[in-house]
Every structure is written in structure tokens, then in C-alpha cells.
């Protein structure tokens, strides 16, 4: 019981620290951040008839969780990046996507409710499928054929092992510029808003 109280106390401390953008405490720096409008090859416009994005350059936007910053595409062959975004496709620095040993899995739950990363079950990108499957209802999003809108599926939390073997939980909040509560097809898409927690000490605790 005493142990439980301590866990609870430390959870409270961490919860408070989550409100700050960065938590740095020496060498083991945990990061809790919300990234808004990360452009994932947004292109130049949308074909009104098909909903297809026009003028895309077909390149992934690479991101590092520890620094919370975008990594230049020229570093794609390095382990400087953990995750990459292009349209609805998400890649991890692993397998066919990069030289790292990153991996990911999806858990059902809430961001705050998931407090421990599983020690196994991380999938890397391979030639036939990505760690986070592409397609409506298969991975992180649901596509509505009538409204032609992509919604992040509620309750899908990405648990990630980074290129530097740290654990991250991540929730995608929006796929549209400005993260509107009720997106419509006319709002520019392929802009990720997501929040994440990066465990700096290398352990599996995600809080």
C-alpha cells in the first residue's frame, strides 16, 4: 500500500511537470509535449472531386521525440529521427524505413490511462506492412467516405520505442491545420497535432 502511495505521488509530480513543455532533470530528461500542425507533405491543394491532395513532394517529415524537433530529411539515413509523417502514413526508424531499431504498437486506452509501456510487441516497418498499418480503421485513423474527412480514432494510443531505445506514448489529436474540433474537407489536411510523453530514464514507466 505504501508503495502504491509513492507511485501515486510520483504520478502527481509527473502530471504537474507534464504541463510544462520540457522537463529536464540532468541526464534523464523526460519530455512531455504537444506538437501542433506538423506538416506532413501537405502539398499545394486538394482536388475537389476526389479529395486527393495535389502537389505533394512525397517526402516524410522526420521527427525526434527527445528534442521535440523536426529533423532534416537529409538525415534520413541516420538514427537522429524516431518517427516520420507523410499524409496518413507514419514510419519509424526501423526495418525498411531507417537504420534504427525503433518500433511501435497501438494500445487501446487514454493517454493518461496508459502508464507503462509493454516490454515486447514493438513492430518495425517491413516490406509488406508498416508498424502502424495504413488504412481506415486499421491503424490510428478512420476515414469517412461521405465527408472525406480523416479522424484520429478515439482511444488509439501509439506506444513507441525510439531509435535510442526510449519509450514514448503518443496520441494523435488532429490531421487538419489548426486542429479544429469539427474538421471539414475544405480545411488543409496533412497537418498533425499530437501530444507525447518521452521517458528520459529509459524505463517503461510512461508518466
Amino acid at each position: 500500500m505504501k508503495q502504491f502511495v509513492i507511485i501515486l505521488l510520483s504520478a502527481l509530480v509527473l502530471f504537474n511537470s507534464c504541463k510544462k513543455d520540457d522537463t529536464t532533470s540532468g541526464a534523464t530528461a523526460s519530455v512531455s509535449k504537444t506538437i501542433t500542425d506538423l506538416a506532413a507533405d501537405p502539398g499545394t491543394g486538394v482536388d475537389p472531386a476526389t479529395g486527393q491532395t495535389l502537389g505533394t513532394i512525397n517526402k516524410f517529415t522526420l521527427f525526434n521525440f527527445k528534442s521535440g524537433s523536426i529533423i532534416s530529411n537529409s538525415d534520413s539515413a541516420s538514427t537522429k529521427w524516431d518517427i516520420g509523417f507523410r499524409g496518413t502514413t507514419i514510419i519509424f526508424n526501423s526495418g525498411v524505413s531507417g537504420p534504427g531499431t525503433a518500433g511501435a504498437q497501438i494500445q487501446d486506452g487514454t493517454f493518461d490511462g496508459i502508464t507503462t509501456a509493454p516490454s515486447t510487441g514493438y513492430i518495425s516497418d517491413n516490406a509488406t506492412s508498416y508498424a502502424i498499418p495504413v488504412g481506415s480503421g486499421k491503424g490510428w485513423y478512420t476515414y469517412n467516405g461521405a465527408t472525406m474527412v480523416i479522424s484520429p480514432t478515439a482511444g488509439k494510443i501509439l506506444i513507441i520505442k525510439t531509435a535510442d531505445n526510449h519509450y514514448v506514448k503518443m496520441e494523435i489529436l488532429s490531421y487538419y491545420k489548426g486542429a479544429p474540433a469539427s474538421p471539414v474537407n475544405s480545411i488543409p489536411a496533412r497537418y498533425y497535432t499530437f501530444r507525447y510523453f518521452y521517458q528520459g530514464d529509459g524505463g517503461t514507466a510512461l508518466k
Binding site: P48, A49, T50, D108, G109, T110, F111, G113, G135, G137, Y141, T142, N144, G145, A146, T147, V149, S151, P152, T153, A154, G155, K156, I157, E171, L173, S174, A179, A181, S182, P183, V184, N185, S186, T193, R195
Partner: protein, 698 residues
């Protein structure tokens, strides 16, 4: 209105006289409306006349507890009865089913009210008498027959360049007569989104003809009726930015010979034969090149033979039986090569009635349907009515089951969506053959269908009960409760993945829903001139699978402010989409005795409701869909269509000798919801002029 209907209309201006009306649909045998053991709605000739409408859909939409809901794909709309989707209500004309559920529901604008005597609506499952489809209830349109020699000509001119010309003539002699009716309806349609190409409702023209001959010798009665309907539609669409024009043609007709024979005082027989055919074709052409972009057709036929004996055991007991055979065919290019398919159903039913006293009755009914595709289905029903507290209150109730057989689409569809990524949908009967045929294109299987039982009918178990309170000669209240548990609802589910990444879907018995609610209605003759009717319906409709997931803590929603996922609670679940929690309806009819004027004001209100994922393909503007968190469930934080009210009014004058005039406005508040309910027509004004020549009236 014809003279006969007109006279009948004046008779029922006092609400309690409606109760003497003979209602046939609930028991396939005449019952006084006041002695019905099942929940029912009755639309009188006067109501039809005062509504000023010539279409079935409009008059149904004004009844308490009935909502008009858009069809999946936005192609027309149907009625929601007791919270069920339109395909679960059987639509009959003189007891015979109307066919042409082209993509699920019937277009009720096909049915005109010109020759209609009354409309009977049974709420609750009626499969014990009518078989498949009668899950939510039955709408039976009772057509008129000749009563005297008369001729009527009617003209209805309304907004959106809409003209309805109709003529009816009847010849009558001592033993029988002939009634003939024909009408033409043409409209330019309307456009709720002028900024986009094409109209919301496209221009269309309809022809409608009906004839009924009857001859009665006392022991024998012969009835022969026929109906013809024809509709042309011209639509304009943008398909991938290319201007196209659509040409739609619908034609349907039926013939219905009936022979009623009183073999003895106690044994009566009715022999019914019925044939109906429905043909629809649609063509989409490129406006510039004239080439065909898409083509669709749907041909359906329905043949039924039925023997319906009735035996009066004694003064208090009646036995009704039925023995019938149905042959149904569908032919459409949607079912691929050799698209012609058929189903045969044979059925038997029996209904025993015990009537211990004039106002007390118990009915036991049982029907068995045997179908060559889905097998057998047993449908029992028990209903009762009894007076309480010295006849001030009557209590009625029914318990029964209903079913809906898998439709042809769910059995035989062969569909490849070329535009939407190449996904395929196969009907269950053709599925295993198709999977073998295209096995080289399949990358993996998602569901093992080898041990899957064949598709079953959707079935329901329902309770309906109500009390009616006649406070005095001029006021009547009714309070009723209903609950429907529906299982084996058929839904599509992915079963395999193609190498191109798309899925193959088929139909399976998946969903379970529970719909329950309460109705409160009242009718009141305020004075000699004014009649008030009001109704309220409370409705709760839930997907039981979703409730299980909620209970297990497996459903999440998105918080509208932070956008983060939140565990969903039971109270966050609003229920099935397209259902309003509250429905209110009232009407005021002014019909002063001895006056040449009459008027009516009618209002309907429905509270907020959600729109499901499939409602799409609406012309122009943004399509409205409630779902925004990808959780496949309507939660309170999704987008809703706001509640709205529709108000209609009209004024009639019959001071001329042979001519009646009615002017009115539909949808006075001009409420439209283009994105969610495109078929909700904007405000329109109309003038009806009816000229009647009647031998008896002159």
C-alpha cells in the same frame, strides 16, 4: 374529393366517431377502431382531404411517431415507425405489398392519395399475419371503390413549377361498379445549394392510373383492381468535374383479382391473386461526348396466391386462416452475369379470436413462412383488449415477433467499387464461388467463412401496450409503451483483403438493437368547429453490441476541447443515428358546421438527431455526418442536426356548387437542412381546385 369521400369526411368530424371506423389491417378482419388490441394509427378521409396533399409521404410525415428519414445514399427518403429504419415497415395497398425497394426503401412519393379511402397503420410487428418486412409495422392504404355515379377533376398547382392534374370517375349500379382514376404530376424540383452543379431534387414527371371494378351478389364478391405508375427523372451531376446528365425511368404496375365467397353463414373464403412488376433504369451520360458513364437497372416481380378462409365458430369465437405462395424475382446488372434471381416462399397462418364480451377480446396468431433460400420462420403474436373502470379506460397489449428476410442484395450482390479504391461487396449466396474465382487477387483472409452458418432473417421480439381514456364524448387520451428487441441485423463485414489493399465485404447477422419508447396522444373536439389532435413520442434506440463494449470499458470518445481520447461512459452514448429522442405533433382543424370555410394548422417537431456514416452522396455543399472521433458510435459530443419544427396551414372554401378550393402553405418556416436532409422541401404554396359532378349530389 369525390362525393362519396366527401360525405364520409363530414361524418367523422367528431373524433369519437372515428372509433366506429372499421379497421382491417391489424387482424385481417374488420374491427372497430375502438376495439383494436394492437397499437394503431388511422388516417381518415377528412385528414387526407384537409392536409391538402396528394402524396403518401406527406400525409404519413404528419402522423405522431412517424419521421421521414433520408435513404442511405441520399436517394429519396422513407418513414421511420417506432424508431425502425424504413425497410422494416411493410407498405401495402389493399393488403398487397408494394415492391421496388430499389436500394432498400420504397419511394412513397410513388403513391398518390387520389383514390385512397383511408390509411391504416399498425404499430409493432405483424409478421404473424404478413410475414417478412412487417417488423416495425404495416402501412395499409385502403383504396376506394365506386359508390355512385360521379366525376371529379382536380388541379393542384404549387411552388417549384409543380402541377398535379387528376381525374376520377365512377359508375355504380345495384351490384357493383367501376372506379377509374388517373393523374399526372410534374415538378421542376428545387435547389438548396445553387452554388453547386445540378439541383437538390431534380425535375421529374409521373403518371399514375388506378382502376377498380367490384361486383357483389351477396354470396360472391369479385374485385379486380390494377395500378400503373411511371416516372421520368432528369438530373445533372458533376462526376470528376465532368458535367453529366442522369436519366431515370421507373415503371411499376400491378393487378389484383380477389374473389370473396360466403360459402355458408359461418364459413367465408377470400381468394387473392396478385402480380406486380417494378422496373427502374438509370443512365448517366457525359454532356459533351454523349458517352455512357454509368448504367444501372433493377427489375423486380412479385406474384402471390393466397386463400384466406374465415370460420365463425360461434358468437364469441372466430378462426381465420391463410395459405399462400409467393414467387419473387429480381434481375439487375448489380448481380453480375446471369443476374436473374428468384425466391419462393410458402406460408400458412392461423388466428384465433375469443370475444368474451363486446369490448373484450383476445387474439392468438401464428404464421410459418418457408423460403427456399433462408429456410423456415415462425412468427407468433398474442394481443388483447379489455375495458377497465366501467369502460372509462380500455387497456390493450400485444406480444409478438417479427422478421425480415435477407433481401436480394444481401444474397446476390456482385459489386466492385472502381472509383472508391476497388473494394468489393458480395452477397452471401454467391460469396464462396466468388472467392474461388478471384483467389489469385486475394492477399489474405480476415474471417473464416467455411463454418459460418448461412444468413438468417433479422428477427424481433416486441411488446406493445397502451391505455385509452375517454374523458368524455369529445376528448380521448392514449398512452402507450413499446419495446422491440431486434437480433441478427444484417451488416457488411470485411472477410478478405485484396492484393491492391482493398477489402472484400459480405453480409452477416451481426447487430442487435433495442428500441423502446412511449407515445402520448390526445384528440379533442373543442367545440362544434374546432378539433385538436396532439401527439408526443419518446424514443430510445441502442445498439446492444455497443452497450456491451461500453460496459466493458472499450469505447472512447474525443473531448471536444482538448481533442484527447476519453473513456466513454454509458450516458455519453446518444443511441442510434437518425433517431430523435422527442417527437411532437399537433394539428388544429377548423370545420364550422354549415360554413363554407374550413382551415387547418399542423405542426411537427423533432429534437436533435445524428446522421450516420452512410447518409452521403448529397448534391452540393458539405455533407453532414455526425461521427467525428472514429469510434463508430454516436456520442453526445458528435455533431447533431438541431431539432426543428415544420408548420403547415391551409384554407378551404366550398361555397361554389361543384367546386372546392383549397389554398395552403407547406413548411411555413421554410426550414431546410440541405446537408443532412436534402429531401426536406423548402416552403411551398399550393392551390387545389376540385370540380365534382355527382349524380347523387345534384
Amino acid at each position: 374529393m369525390g362525393a362519396s369521400i366527401y360525405v364520409a369526411g363530414q361524418n367523422d368530424s367528431v373524433p369519437n366517431q372515428d372509433l366506429e371506423t372499421i379497421f382491417v389491417t391489424s387482424h385481417r378482419d374488420g374491427r372497430k377502431l375502438s376495439a383494436l388490441s394492437t397499437s394503431a394509427l388511422y388516417i381518415s378521409p377528412l385528414q387526407i382531404k384537409q392536409s391538402g396533399t396528394t402524396r403518401l409521404q406527406q400525409i404519413l410525415s404528419e402522423q405522431p411517431g412517424i419521421n421521414i428519414v433520408p435513404q442511405v445514399n441520399g436517394l429519396g427518403s422513407g418513414i421511420q415507425l417506432q424508431g425502425f429504419n424504413p425497410e422494416y415497415t411493410m407498405i401495402l395497398i389493399d393488403g398487397e405489398p408494394v415492391i421496388g425497394r430499389n436500394t432498400g426503401l420504397l419511394d412513397l412519393n410513388r403513391i398518390t392519395l387520389n383514390q385512397v379511402k383511408q390509411i391504416e397503420i399498425v404499430k409493432g410487428p405483424s409478421s404473424s399475419l404478413y410475414g417478412s418486412e412487417a417488423l416495425a409495422g404495416v402501412v395499409n392504404i385502403i383504396t376506394d371503390q365506386s359508390h355512385d355515379n360521379n366525376f371529379r377533376l382536380g388541379l393542384r398547382e404549387s411552388s417549384h413549377a409543380t402541377t398535379d392534374i387528376n381525374g376520377m370517375g365512377s359508375l355504380h349500379s345495384e351490384h357493383g361498379g367501376l372506379l377509374v382514376q388517373a393523374s399526372r404530376y410534374a415538378t421542376q424540383g428545387y435547389d438548396l445549394a445553387p452554388e453547386s452543379y445540378g439541383k437538390t431534387v431534380s425535375p421529374h414527371q409521373q403518371w399514375n392510373a388506378f382502376a377498380k371494378y367490384h361486383y357483389n351478389t351477396g354470396h360472391h364478391e369479385f374485385l379486380l383492381s390494377g395500378r400503373y405508375f411511371d416516372e421520368h427523372q432528369q438530373a445533372q451531376y458533376l462526376v470528376n468535374e465532368i458535367a453529366t446528365s442522369g436519366h431515370g425511368l421507373i415503371r411499376d404496375w400491378m393487378i389484383n383479382p380477389v374473389w370473396k365467397y360466403k360459402m355458408t353463414e359461418r364459413l367465408h373464403s377470400v381468394f387473392r391473386t396478385y402480380y406486380t412488376k417494378y422496373d427502374a433504369t438509370a443512365l448517366l451520360l457525359n454532356d459533351h461526348t454523349g458517352e455512357t458513364i454509368s448504367q444501372d437497372d433493377f427489375h423486380q416481380s412479385f406474384t402471390r396466391l393466397e386463400w384466406n378462409p374465415k370460420y365463425l365458430i360461434d358468437q364469441r369465437q372466430t378462426l381465420i386462416g391463410g395459405l399462400g405462395y409467393v414467387h419473387e424475382t429480381v434481375n439487375t446488372i448489380r448481380y453480375g452475369n446471369g443476374g436473374g434471381k428468384y425466391q419462393n416462399t410458402s406460408y400458412e397462418f392461423v388466428q384465433y379470436t375469443l370475444r368474451p364480451s363486446e369490448a373484450k377480446e383476445i387474439n392468438l396468431g401464428l404464421r410459418y413462412d418457408h423460403n427456399n433460400v433462408y429456410g423456415g420462420q415462425l412468427s407468433p403474436k398474442v394481443s388483447f383488449i379489455t375495458p377497465l373502470f366501467n369502460n372509462v379506460i380500455t387497456w390493450n397489449g400485444s406480444i409478438g415477433s417479427g422478421f425480415k428476410s435477407p433481401d436480394f442484395r444481401q444474397l446476390y450482390l456482385d459489386f466492385t467499387n472502381a472509383a472508391g479504391g476497388g473494394y468489393r461487396v458480395y452477397g452471401r449466396e454467391v460469396l464462396s464461388d466468388k472467392l474461388i474465382q478471384i483467389k489469385d487477387q486475394i492477399s489474405g483472409y480476415l474471417k473464416d467463412i467455411s463454418n459460418e452458418p448461412s444468413i438468417r432473417p433479422e428477427s424481433s421480439f416486441s411488446i406493445n401496450t397502451g391505455i385509452t381514456w375517454k374523458t368524455n364524448q369529445t376528448m380521448r387520451w392514449n398512452l402507450s409503451y413499446f419495446r422491440n428487441n431486434v437480433t441478427d441485423l444484417i451488416e457488411t463485414e470485411p472477410i478478405a483483403q485484396l492484393k491492391n489493399g482493398s477489402n472484400i465485404y459480405s453480409y452477416f447477422n451481426i447487430n442487435k438493437v433495442r428500441i423502446e419508447g412511449a407515445d402520448l396522444s390526445m384528440q379533442c373536439q373543442l367545440n362544434d368547429a374546432i378539433k385538436f389532435t396532439g401527439g408526443y413520442e419518446l424514443l430510445y434506440a441502442y445498439d446492444l453490441n455497443q452497450l456491451d463494449l461500453l460496459k466493458a470499458g472499450k469505447k472512447y470518445r474525443r473531448d471536444p476541447a482538448s481533442l484527447s481520447s476519453v473513456l466513454m461512459s454509458r450516458s455519453d452514448y446518444y443511441g442510434l443515428s437518425e433517431r430523435s429522442r422527442h417527437n411532437v405533433q399537433f394539428s388544429l382543424l377548423f370545420q364550422p358546421k354549415e360554413s363554407v370555410w374550413n382551415a387547418s394548422i399542423r405542426m411537427q417537431y423533432r429534437s436533435k438527431f445524428g446522421i450516420g456514416n452512410n447518409a452521403g452522396l448529397v448534391q452540393g455543399g458539405n455533407v453532414f455526418v455526425s461521427e467525428k472521433s472514429g469510434n463508430d458510435i454516436l456520442d453526445r459530443y458528435d455533431d447533431f442536426v438541431h431539432g426543428y419544427a415544420l408548420v403547415h396551414a391551409n384554407l378551404g372554401y366550398n361555397g361554389f356548387k361543384k367546386t372546392e378550393i383549397l389554398i395552403g402553405i407547406q413548411n411555413i418556416l421554410n426550414k431546410t437542412i440541405p446537408s443532412a436532409l436534402p429531401t426536406l422541401a423548402p416552403r411551398s404554396m399550393y392551390v387545389n381546385i376540385n370540380y365534382t359532378l355527382s349524380k347523387n349530389k345534384n
